[in-house]
């Protein structure tokens, strides 16, 4: 069972989160094929990547930098904490 230390929450099991894939901002110019690639293409090549993780109990999204080659968490930050926090 894997755990990580999350900002605002503390040490949590991964089972409390749902993961929504890699952070990939929408490209500025989208033709039919670039759009299809952006929507559908996913690579599972081991690498460092930033993922969207959602914590259901707090309704908070986190950006998790993870190395899928070594299966290690490198950094975690909350995606949105409001302008005044």
């Amino acid at each position: 069972m894997k755990y990580a230390d999350f900002p605002l929450l503390g040490r949590r099991p991964f089972t409390e989160f749902s993961i929504s894939g890699v952070l990939e901002p929408e490209p500025a110019e989208l033709g039919e094929w670039t759009a299809a690639r952006w929507v559908f293409e996913r690579t599972s090549v081991p690498r460092e990547r930033v993922e969207w993780w959602y914590h259901g109990a707090s309704r908070l999204w986190f950006l998790v930098r993870r190395d899928t080659g070594s299966d290690t968490i490198l950094a975690i930050e909350p995606a949105r904490t409001g302008s005044r926090s």
Binding site: G10, A36, H55, G56, R59, W61
Partner: protein, 1185 residues
């Protein structure tokens, strides 16, 4: 007790506690502390079970659970490991897998078939000739195997707990104890686990010369018992090593998942048998088993013993056993490498020594050991030694399963004759004999050094200590394998595998460690190769002409030791969501079914389902009826960017949605697939109220939160799915019913179709939307969950004169089918686009940016399927079901998505997802039934009922009276706790507390020290929006600065910043400003929105809860610190916090829909721990609040 010896120092038995049990029908005497096997050995029995395949008599091998020779069963349990199971007084144990009992097992004739049962037998026999396959299958299924599953016995509900610690030490032998002591002294939080009933490891039965009186062990255990930062778990085994240092400890009371920052593996070694003819006879055992019998249970293993010496240490062990009372007549030295002085000492003790000897075979009499035939000396003289006990002291193998699972590697150490750890992953340390240490001093020093290194890795300072060098002499015999031309020499006792079986495997090409294992099944039995793998590798090395160090080894996967299914299954929690009307439905004949996590009524009984649906259908169409739609997802969207968020999330346009109106909306994913639909009401310019389908509520909220984060929008989202109940009141007379209860102006001119209004309904704040899902004049009424049941009851009462009736989900589905309304997720699937579902016109073309825009732009031009209505009068039309195929010219052209018998049309109607060119009204289609018959149907336009929406314009008598109705005529003054209704009288009575009806258990246990209380009556508020800070400041409430982690408490009240621009306030009872704020009237205050929180609220008092929370919650709760924790508890997302004060206790806030499920789970756990449920008054008495 013929073999029981005089009392000795350190024995585990309690001679004052004598009792008897039955074994194979015969009484057996036992002492407290005995295992079943030790008691049987004390009674003089040697044959204790039959083997797996050949049904050979078997007895003690390791007496350490490293073999599965003695598996027993009772009427309720099976495959009991007799070597480590304490007998129960009066219980009746029988050997598993016998035909006619242990002594006269008819299965023993299978031994005669051994020549036709070689390894790989299954693959060969089942392959050719094929007609024999059933015969073989029947024979094998009958003859082979272990205990029978007891299908009629009730397996226990075993909990699965989580424990968090700095250091986990696996193994409480010399090195494990030393490691635990260093860590405990350094102040670390330590868990020490050992599979034996008592800590001490081999020190218990193999007394080391340096600690011959056991003083070090006693002193160490006493020190560890004093340390309150150390938990010693005996009688449990670490079954696997998972990621992030998670090890399941399996004990009689279930699984404890230990999450450690560092792990010291001090698992020790498994003693190994020698392989020679008849080495499985009862009476042949490992020297360690004899030592356990003598030291721990004071049982003489034999009356005339022979010891097979294969290591230099064997002589010392032999003499130690003699000292303990072993009748040893001879030592057969098979190349121990022991010093001559050792041999002389043995001879001096009266033991005959045969040097340079080879065991030829063990001789049986009556199926048990009677002698050993050897050849010895330079002349290879054969001789026979009479004996009834043969003790094998030929070596050991490291218990390295966990180490390899952790990612460590082993390398063969030729000098030691066994593998040693060569690489270890971070945070994992090996110590003791597993690490190649032999002497007592070396093991202790190694344990201390491992602990120091582990603590350093955790950032805990401990005195550094150097690891001692590994042992240099051989710890194992290089090749204790002595084939015999005839007869069986067993390698794997579990699977009855002999040298010949492995030879067959290698000859047939399965000549690597992994292949040989799979073909021969070596190491795949219940003991997972603990006593077989190393000898198997030795044989493989010899057969393939390789060095043992290079043949490799099989991968030890979880579990290193079998785990009972009951322990794996855990408590088997099944989460169920209930609406606030659940109790009403059940009390009024609701036929409940599962709709995802929810429970919903399909229709209301009694009697035939079709008749009930028809009755309810008529009530909706002709009079008035109501349905519980509380399962709808409900989300408030509030903030300056609320509209921008919705424009991005939905392909529909919100530009023309004005205040006071609603519109139908649907959502797609990035690929343009339809994923959800619902209604969106604009409450204000910056405030929307959304509904979603029942199953997608959490998903839509998750996506909206994601989009808000991605676009950095100023918006607050509040899920109100569980906080609000919803009722759809539909039918031509619905306006009249509503008018009798509400102050809302219901006139069609002021409250038109698709509008929403807020007002009082039976004295309750309600949001009412005019919807037409079922095709009649209808109002969707949203009220706080705690008032929903009361509002429903008021509607039923007010509607009585109009013939009101409740209707269920099945009726609703038929009603909407007549209107051609699509149910997303039912008529659509994971490939359906809005264009196919007939929603294409609502996809905005001009919006610059929204989710799925690119895909929808492409799909708009490429749509080839469509949802279409059909109608049929065919005789077999009633057999049409969802998902049946539409066949056109022998190919699949579509499928049925919904079907029903429409009273409005007088025929079977439905929806098909069909090729576009076939979807012309009047076109004939053929639907293939389950039996292949084709049913003709005709494409029909939708809707087939009230196509021009005339029903929405109905002006029924009574509507004019709306304005005359007395508001609050039937005022609801009592709210309901969400757990109410779960517990029937008389065990529970109801109390009213702060206007809230609560369940109270009658006659709670007076002796209970732990309590569960329903606190739903305590007021709570959610405050959201950019003005939330200002509003709280104006109320004088101190608010926490950070999201989630921080909270402000006063008394037992709480303010937590639960999200960006969102606060949760829970009232206490001290009268602080926050208490007042937590009771503030809901509504809008400038840029802040105040809402009732409407959640389940429990208090957990007493010592029992620590263990229960450790079971139900996988996150570390970090003790009773007064912080807020949003965690998953028993599959529910909850808020958990600790209230300091006179009586510190835990509080849980959960969704109202989870309330009864969670209450049941908590109550069941509490019941096991001897706690009780209590009422709010009792809490007050207990806590002084």
């Amino acid at each position: 007790m013929i073999r029981r010896l005089p009392p000795r120092d350190g024995e585990w038995i309690d001679r004052d506690a004598s009792f008897s049990f039955l074994f194979e029908g015969e009484p057996v005497q036992a002492y407290g502390g005995d295992t079943i096997t030790s008691a049987l050995a004390a009674s003089g029995r040697r044959t204790l079970a039959r083997s797996f395949k050949y049904h050979r008599p078997r007895g003690i091998l390791s007496l350490a659970n490293h073999d599965a020779n003695v598996l027993l069963e009772t009427d309720t349990a099976t495959n009991l490991r007799a070597d480590v199971t304490a007998p129960e007084p009066g219980a009746h144990y029988r050997a598993v897998n016998t035909f006619g009992g242990l002594r006269h097992d008819a299965g023993r004739v299978l031994s005669l078939f051994a020549p036709v049962l070689p390894s790989g037998f299954y693959y060969k026999a089942f392959y050719r000739p094929r007609f024999l396959f059933p015969w073989w299958e029947k024979l094998i299924r009958h003859a082979a195997g272990l205990g029978r599953a007891k299908l009629d016995s009730i397996s226990p509900r075993l909990p699965r707990r989580h424990v968090f610690c700095d250091l986990l030490v696996v193994g409480a032998g010399a090195s494990g104890l030393a490691a635990a002591r260093v860590a405990a002294d350094a102040g670390a939080n330590v868990v020490l686990v050992d599979e034996q009933a008592r800590p001490g490891g081999s020190l218990n039965h193999l007394r080391a010369a340096e600690d011959s009186d056991g003083a070090w062990r006693r002193e160490c255990l006493a020190a560890l018992a004093e340390a309150d930062n150390l938990t010693l778990v005996s009688g449990s085994y670490a079954a696997a090593f998972y990621a992030d240092h998670c090890l399941p400890l399996v004990g009689a009371d279930g699984i404890t998942l230990v999450h450690a920052r560092a792990v010291v593996l001090a698992c020790g070694c498994y003693e190994q048998p020698a392989v020679f003819r008849n080495n499985d006879l009862p009476g042949v055992m490992q020297a360690g088993a004899a030592a356990r019998l003598l030291r721990l249970y004071a049982v003489a293993p034999c009356t005339a013993g022979v010891l097979l010496a294969g290591t230099p240490g064997a002589y010392a062990s032999a003499l130690d056993l003699v000292e303990q009372g072993l009748a040893l007549s001879a030592i057969v030295d098979i190349g121990s490498g022991a010093a001559a002085a050792d041999r002389e000492r043995a001879r001096a003790a009266g033991v005959q020594v045969f040097e340079d000897a080879v065991p030829l075979e063990a001789i049986a009499r009556g199926g048990e050991l009677a002698g050993l035939r050897i050849s010895a000396g330079s002349g290879r003289l054969h001789s026979t030694i009479d004996c009834d006990g043969l003790l094998m002291a030929v070596g050991q193998a490291p218990a390295a399963g966990l180490l390899v699972q952790a990612g460590g590697r082993l390398a063969w150490d030729g000098a030691l004759g066994q593998p040693v750890p060569s690489a270890l992953p971070p945070g994992v340390y090996a110590a003791g004999s597993l690490n190649g240490m032999q002497t007592f001093d070396a093991r202790i020093a190694d344990g201390a050094a491992a602990a120091a290194a582990a603590l350093a890795a955790c950032g805990i300072t401990a005195p550094a200590s150097a690891a001692p060098p590994r042992a240099t002499g051989p710890l194992s015999h290089a090749h204790p394998i002595f084939p015999h031309a005839r007869g069986k020499a067993f390698v794997d006792f579990d699977e009855d595998l002999t040298i010949d079986d492995l030879r067959t495997a290698v000859r047939e090409g399965f000549d690597s460690a992994e292949l040989m294992k799979r073909y021969s099944t070596i190491g795949m039995g219940p003991s997972q190769g603990k006593h077989a793998n190393v000898n198997g590798l030795r044989i493989l090395a010899e057969l393939t002409g390789q060095e043992i160090g290079v043949v490799g080894a099989t991968t030890p996967r979880p579990f290193v030791h079998p785990v009972p299914l009951a322990a794996l299954a855990g408590r088997r929690l099944r989460r169920v969501w209930r609406t606030p009307l659940d109790a009403w439905h059940r009390a009024h004949g609701g036929v409940m079914h599962e709709a995802g996590t929810w429970q919903r009524p399909r229709c209301y009984g009694p009697g035939d389902h079709a008749a009930a649906v028809a009755r309810e259908h008529a009530a909706v169409r002709e009079q008035v009826a109501l349905i519980d739609v509380s399962t709808l997802g409900k989300i408030e969207v509030f903030g300056a960017d609320a509209e921008a968020l919705l424009e991005y999330a939905y392909p529909c346009s919100f530009a023309r949605l004005v205040d006071g109106m609603t519109r139908y909306v649907f959502m797609t994913d990035g690929g343009g697939t339809l994923i959800d639909d619902g209604v969106c009401a604009r409450i204000a310019a910056d405030h929307f109220y959304l509904t979603t389908t029942s199953s997608q509520a959490q998903n839509v909220l998750r996506l909206l939160e994601l989009y808000a984060a991605e676009l950095a929008l100023d918006v607050a989202l509040v899920e109100r799915t569980f906080a609000l109940g919803a009722i759809n009141l539909a039918g031509p007379r619905s306006r009249a019913v509503l008018a009798a209860l509400s102050d809302i102006d219901l006139a069609a001119s002021t409250f038109p179709y698709l509008a929403w209004r807020e007002g009082q309904l039976a004295g309750v704040d309600a949001r009412v939307m005019r919807v037409g899902f079922v095709g009649e004049l209808g109002y969707e009424i949203h009220v706080p969950a705690s008032r929903t049941a009361a509002v429903w009851t008021a509607l039923m009462a007010a509607g009585r004169e109009h013939g009101i009736a409740p209707f269920g989900v099945d009726t609703q589905r038929l009603l909407r089918l007549e209107k051609g309304h699509v149910i997303v997720g039912h008529d659509t699937d994971g490939t359906t686009t809005p264009f196919e579902a007939g929603l294409g016109r609502a996809v905005a073309k001009s919006k610059p940016r929204h989710v799925g825009r690119h895909a929808l732009a492409v799909l708009r031009e490429r749509t080839r399927r469509t949802l279409a209505g059909f109608v049929t009068h065919h005789a077999r039309a009633g057999e049409i079901a969802d998902c049946l195929l539409v066949i056109e010219a022998d190919r699949i052209a579509g499928r049925v998505t919904s079907v029903g018998t429409s009273p409005a049309v007088g025929a079977v109607i439905g929806l098909v997802m069909i090729e576009q060119e076939l979807a012309r009204p009047g076109r004939r289609i053929d639907i293939r039934l389950a039996d292949g018959a084709l049913v003709a149907a005709e494409i029909a336009p939708t809707p087939c009922y009230d196509a021009d929406n005339a029903r929405q314009a109905l002006e029924e008598p009574g509507s004019a009276a709306a304005t005359d109705a007395t508001p609050g005529k039937a005022v609801v003054d009592e709210a309901e706790s969400p757990v109410l209704g779960a517990y029937p009288q008389p065990a529970f009575s109801h109390v009213v507390c702060d206007g809230m009806r609560l369940a109270r258990r009658a006659g709670a246990r007076p002796e209970a020290s732990s309590w569960l209380l329903d606190l739903a009556h305590l007021s709570a508020r959610v405050v959201v929006g950019r003005g939330a800070d200002a509003w709280l400041d104006a109320q004088g409430v101190t608010r926490p600065g950070t999201v989630q982690s921080a909270c402000v408490q006063w008394g037992d009240g709480l303010v937590v910043r639960s999200h960006v621009d969102e606060y949760l306030l829970v009232a206490g009872s001290t009268g602080a400003p926050a208490d007042t704020a937590a009771r503030a009237a809901p509504g809008r205050h400038g840029e802040a929105l105040v809402m009732t929180a409407e959640r389940a609220h429990f208090a957990l008092l007493g010592p029992a809860w620590e263990a229960i929370l450790a079971e139900l919650c996988a996150a570390p709760l970090g003790g009773a610190a007064p912080a807020w924790r949003a965690v998953r508890l028993a599959h529910c997302d909850v808020g958990l916090w600790c209230v300091a004060g006179a009586v510190p206790h835990w509080r849980v806030l959960a969704s109202a829909a989870d309330a009864r499920y969670l209450f049941d789970v908590l109550a069941a756990c509490l019941d096991e721990q001897g706690g009780a449920l209590a009422s709010a008054e009792e809490l007050a008495a207990l806590s002084g609040v």
